[in-house]
C-alpha cells in the first residue's frame, strides 16, 4: 500500500480517538449551570429531579421553565423533559416543539462538570447544589 494512504489512515484514526467519556456519578449532577457562550442562559438542576431553565433577555424580561430530569447511566445522558431553548431574538421555539433534550455530561480539563450542547458549546456547572 502506498505510504501516503497509510499516513492518511493513521491521521484519520488518530483524530477519531477521543477520550472515552466515563459515566458521571448522578450525585454530582445537581447544581447551577451557565451557558458557555451566553451567560444569560442558566439551568438549575435540583436534587429532587426537577430543573429550572432561565434566560435573561436584553429587554429586561426573564424567560423561565420548570420540569423534571432523569439520568441514564448506561448511555451517560441526562434528559431534560419538555425543554425549551431560549435566545435573545425572536426565534424562540414554540410550545408545540418542546421535547426531551438529552445532554451528555462530562468532566472538563479543570474537573468542572459540563453538559454538552454541541461540539464547542456546553453548559458548565458554576455552583454546587
Amino acid at each position: 500500500m502506498d505510504s501516503k494512504y497509510l499516513i492518511l489512515i493513521f491521521v484519520l484514526l488518530a483524530c477519531s480517538f477521543k477520550q472515552k467519556e466515563k459515566p458521571i456519578d448522578p450525585e454530582l449532577l445537581p447544581g447551577a449551570y451557565c451557558h458557555s457562550h451566553d451567560k444569560r442562559d442558566s439551568i438549575f438542576v435540583y436534587p429532587d429531579k426537577t430543573y429550572k431553565h432561565t434566560y435573561h433577555r436584553s429587554d429586561g424580561t426573564v424567560m423561565s421553565q420548570t420540569n423534571t430530569w432523569y439520568y441514564k447511566s448506561d448511555i451517560n445522558d441526562i434528559f431534560f423533559e419538555s425543554f425549551l431553548f431560549y435566545n435573545d431574538g425572536e426565534n424562540v421555539e414554540t410550545e408545540d416543539y418542546r421535547g426531551s433534550w438529552p445532554a451528555k455530561p462530562f468532566v472538563g480539563e479543570k474537573g468542572e462538570i459540563k453538559l454538552r450542547y454541541s461540539e464547542s458549546v456546553y453548559y458548565v456547572k458554576v455552583q454546587e447544589k
Binding site: R98, G99, W101, P102, R116
Partner: protein, 131 residues
C-alpha cells in the same frame, strides 16, 4: 453544497439557511451517519415515542471514507430533533459550520460580525423533512 462552503470561507451570503425535504442537500442528509445514529438513539431511548429535541451526534474522522454525499461531510456533527406527529415523523437537523468543527475540534469558532464580512465566521443550516 459548493455555495455553502464558499459562503463560509468568504463570509458572504446568509448567516442562516433552511432546506426542506425536496432539496438535494436534505436528501443527502437523510442517509448520513449522524442521522443514522440519531434514529438508533431515538429507537433505544424513546420507546414510547415523544419528542427528542436537539440531541447532539458526533461525526467522526473515521466516518469520512464512508460518507454518501458531500453535504454529509460538510455538515459533520449536528443536533437532531425528532417529532412524531399524526403517524408521521418530522426530522429537524441543525448544524453550525465553524472553524471548530471543520478542524475536528482544534480551532476556535468565530461569530460573524453584524454589518461586516467575516471570513470563516459561523454559519447555520437547518434541514427539515417528514417521513
Amino acid at each position: 453544497m459548493k455555495h455553502l462552503l464558499a459562503e463560509f470561507l468568504s463570509g458572504e451570503g446568509p448567516e442562516r439557511s433552511l432546506f426542506y425535504g425536496s432539496h438535494p442537500l436534505t436528501k443527502g442528509m437523510k442517509s448520513s451517519a449522524v442521522v443514522k445514529r440519531a434514529r438508533e438513539f431515538y429507537a433505544a431511548n424513546y420507546p414510547n415515542g415523544g419528542d427528542m429535541v436537539r440531541a447532539h451526534f458526533d461525526f467522526y474522522a473515521t466516518d469520512v471514507p464512508f460518507v454518501g454525499s458531500d453535504i454529509e461531510q460538510f455538515v459533520g456533527s449536528a443536533r437532531v430533533s425528532i417529532y412524531p406527529r399524526d403517524g408521521l415523523t418530522v426530522f429537524v437537523i441543525d448544524n453550525t459550520t465553524g472553524r471548530y468543527s471543520g478542524s475536528f475540534d482544534t480551532a476556535k469558532d468565530i461569530p460573524r460580525i453584524p454589518g461586516q464580512i467575516t471570513p470563516m465566521g459561523n454559519i447555520y443550516q437547518r434541514f427539515i423533512w417528514i417521513e
